[in-house]
Symmetry: D2
Subunit: 349 residues, 4 copies
């Protein structure tokens, strides 16, 4: 079993496990623990999450982001309710139809310029209350930071939450990159969740340096009954839970989450700066977290992808996505930026 080390900018889940997380797993690997979450480590995680999200918060560790989202959205909806989201939301485009398939959830999708919903945009789908022909809008889900590398300000989240609550809807925040968002905003987690009315959070660990671990953080228990049952019936309950909890706890220990996230954000800004200096490459979206979206000549992209892995985001426009992760180094960024410059020159000549 050998694995030749290489690096790239394809995704923050191409990176491995942060050493402090692996250590945490090893440290709790002693003796027996009650399975399925009634263990000491999960209890400690519960407290740590309450320190972040407030004393009423409840944390339910799960395996992955799709699981966190689908369990949370089920708990937040009645059987006849639907979910309002951006067309670009991960829950819509990248989960293989899991919300519909596994939970019978209809998504009311809204095109956005930048991956972000607003009260006005929400109103384009949040209507028809009481009309049985229309799957009833029950939840708004937003992604923070978004799939397009953008960020909601605290005020923007507050405005959405107020608006949704005013309509009788609740608010879910898909925080697969919640750490990147908090680091970029210069806040903790609760400033843009608990404090402004978000009801339930999918708290991401994997992209922030764990092996595999996410948590459903129920900020407002009234909005989300039955998560414990739904986690099991949705196949997201780990038997040896202590090892999932230990990973998340490691992130919350000594601010590892913040160190990892602020680092990957910084690497993205560095990459952006380097790339902006290269003629012919446009950075096409605000770099607010750990993603850089750029447009290159397709032939350059093709040659570059032989040297570094990354994804083409939009075949039609030539837009590509470069993700930085907790393990991206300054050398990685510089070698990559140099390679981009080289291939652009080769193109020009």
């Amino acid at each position: 079993m050998t694995s030749t080390p290489w690096r790239g900018f394809a995704s923050d889940n191409y990176a491995g496990i942060h050493p402090e997380v692996l250590d945490a797993i090893a440290r709790v690997n002693t003796g027996h623990q009650v399975a399925y979450g009634d263990d000491d480590v999960t209890a400690e995680l519960a407290s740590a999450m309450q320190a972040q999200f407030g004393p009423q918060a409840e944390a339910f560790p799960v395996f992955n982001g799709t699981g966190a989202n689908v369990v949370a959205l089920q708990a937040m909806t009645k059987r006849w309710e639907a979910v309002v989201c951006a067309t670009s939301a991960h829950v819509n485009v990248d989960e293989g139809g899991a919300p519909e398939h596994g939970a019978g959830l209809k998504l009311w999708t809204i095109p956005t310029p930048d991956g972000k919903l607003t009260p006005e945009l929400i109103d384009t789908q949040a209507w028809g209350f009481g009309d049985v022909h229309r799957a009833q809008p029950g939840v708004v889900t937003i992604t923070q930071s978004t799939e397009l590398g953008t960020l909601y300000t605290v005020e923007e989240v507050a405005a959405i939450a107020d608006h949704a609550h005013g309509l009788g809807m609740s608010v879910h925040l898909d925080g697969a990159r919640i750490a990147n968002a908090a680091a970029a905003l210069g806040t903790g987690f609760r400033e843009f969740t608990t404090d402004v009315g978000v009801d339930v959070v999918s708290f991401g660990g994997t992209k922030n340096g764990t092996m595999l671990s996410e948590a459903i953080v129920v900020v407002n228990p009234d909005a989300s009954p039955g998560v414990d049952f739904l986690r099991k019936s949705s196949m997201q309950l780990a038997s040896k839970m202590r090892f999932v909890s230990a990973q998340l706890l490691a992130l919350l220990t000594d601010d590892l989450w913040h160190r990892n996230a602020s680092h990957s954000n910084a690497m993205a800004r560095e990459l952006e700066a380097r790339v902006r200096a290269i003629d012919g490459v446009s950075v096409v979206r605000p770099v607010q977290a750990n993603a850089v979206f750029a447009v290159l000549p397709p032939t350059v992209t093709e040659r570059l992808q032989k040297r570094f892995r990354f994804y083409t985001w939009d075949q039609a426009t030539g837009e590509v996505r470069w993700m930085c992760s907790w393990d991206t180094t300054l050398e990685d960024v510089h070698s990559f930026a140099d390679a981009i410059a080289e291939e652009m020159s080769a193109e020009a000549s």
Copy 2:
């Protein structure tokens, strides 16, 4: 984050991670790897599984046993088909309704004396083919070793598979404890799966010493299309897959699976032997894998459970279950047997 080590006989998933598994995780934690399974480690696992199950076999790592079962059963059934299983099957009694809830699968359940189906028992539910009022029996699922600690012989599995295939049905084997079964039978995996007509296996890793990892092993690809898609839509696709695959690969390296399973089986036999020597305690089921089922006076059970964790299986009869795991030591068994003897004496006096 501290976790005071203790031991017990509650479940093989109360145990931790075998050191060779943890090492394997650490060993593949270098550089980037393509996410979602297109990585070197998962490729190596695929080969290792083919060495076990035959060159046509395909392995799909997932998070947990419920996930493995529900994804496999979906792939094996058409939308209108149902699953035939023992009433005592994990898929029926212990998965929170996941097959029905997440996959719309009806279970046709069959009471059994020992957790084992037979062709005759299967016939009590496998009928009504072509009748639209009856959810069509499409798959038989059996558990090996069973939830009651019993074992199917190779011949018994073969008879079930022949019978099911003769009815146009396919066969799934829930192998949450497949290693215990193979070790007990003195065979490899394929002798009671591939070689006798089992179509799809849920291959258990967690109870055999991993942190969290199971695999759907599609022995007969014709019987089970779309597992890759269904794994995603059922929320069972790990992004950093290499770390799930590495765990399973560790089990298949240097026969770790066999060492762990034969050890826990031996511990169960030792416990059985000790307990049979204690007056007033009856071992009520054949000890064929790593579980011992016994009947004790409830007052003894109550006192014992303050000293060692284990589950009461049937409140009405006083039956209890004692599970041995890869980390159960001879000392554990002897201290526990001594404690049983003590509490029985206390009861008698």
Copy 3:
């Protein structure tokens, strides 16, 4: 389009439409009406149902019994709850897996001697509250009259409802033959529903003489939110609703339901009496509604089925089912009983 008239004892849905029902359809076939239930006829039905079930009751017409049951059970359960029923319940054996397939509902089934649950029987499945591994028992459903032609007394239903409510569960009554039950008990509908704690009723019309029409009668609105939405999302909302409502209204007009039901019950008693006089034929279940279950020699059954249609209920025991319907005549019964006697004599000789 010709349809040669013939008669039989196969099922009460082999019969046609009672003339008063067909007249009612024709009578409301004038001009336009608002679709989907906001019409005058449906409003009139709502009042008529309240006259039967109490002023708090709400009636939701649907197409068929499976639809009524599945919509009702969805409304009565949270996403993680399951349904407790007799193994012989229509919802378990005769609905093609609709509860599981269309609504994700797990059924906890209980074998019964006579199709009837009791508090003691319910306890064999209504346990494990709070345990996430066990699909949570949320509803008890009983069938009145049962699939085996038996009847719950008012006291028996009351005992079940009290017991279920004590466990925090609610009670559904599958009344595909509720009219036969009421006629047999000599009561109205509310005596064994509203008055004793049944929460929701599937009110059957089709087997009582309509063309196609059932209603979900929500006796206790607190127990069953969202029926209006779930009826639509479960494909049970008729556009030209007035014609469904008119059928049910016809049953409630001039006691047509009672005339039809007491007649078919009487025909079953007459058939029973005649058959009991025939040597070698055993009536094997109490004849309490409109079904007669008997055991005959298989060769007799075979010859008889060439002369009159009816179903073999259990191939193994030779048990057959004879259903009487609103249109069964005394002549039908006598000719059939004579035929049975003839074929039995032929057998004996």
Copy 4:
């Protein structure tokens, strides 16, 4: 039970039952018939549908259009496949989430100017084949005539079918108003279905003058296995099927479908002509079937709706929808056009 006759332009399902349909129901109301579709009338319907759609076609009567669509789309998709449709499709906006809720189907929606898909538009969602993160596009569904009163030409349907088949997808046609389409195109049904590659049709009866009846017509049985089972598990199987079949058979007898459809189409054209003559009212979509979409001043709409029922289609633009039905008379049209003119004058003065 009284129902004061009135008329309006709200929907073609506000109209009642055509007398020939009611006669057909009465005519088959003699004696017993086997339930659930094994009856003489349903057999006769099967032949009549084959006369329309070709000898390989199979017809499955169901209760309503949502049922027809959801059963058909389930049969046409594997468990992991999704449906491509126009954003304006009934299946997306008007079925209360039934496709997602009852069948786990994801809809990939496409905005269109006129309710019509094209190969180019389909390509905006029909991509990502083989990518497990993307719910796999499996079926294209089109509505004929569309929800916006427009029509696909035979060539347009052919182009879509060729394109979809080239992508490995199949084609469903939601024909809630298929009769209006055929009448408007001057063809039979098969010219724009069977003959050009449509695989499955939801054949509408209710809006064409029946009481309640639609049929799934499987034109290409290979594309759609299991409809019989899925009809039952989706709660769309009528017990007294003969009465559903008789309604559809009546439509296919003496060209009743064509008489009804060409009449309602003609009424829509007449209304269009009258309205075009009124200053200040714009007909904003091509009138190709039985719907007229127009823009009026909201105050006029408000006053008009007190005199005649119809729906506002888009609150923002003031667009309204006027539907003609089989029972719309020339007098209805003229009175309504006069009323529009009056209210517009009142507005102007």
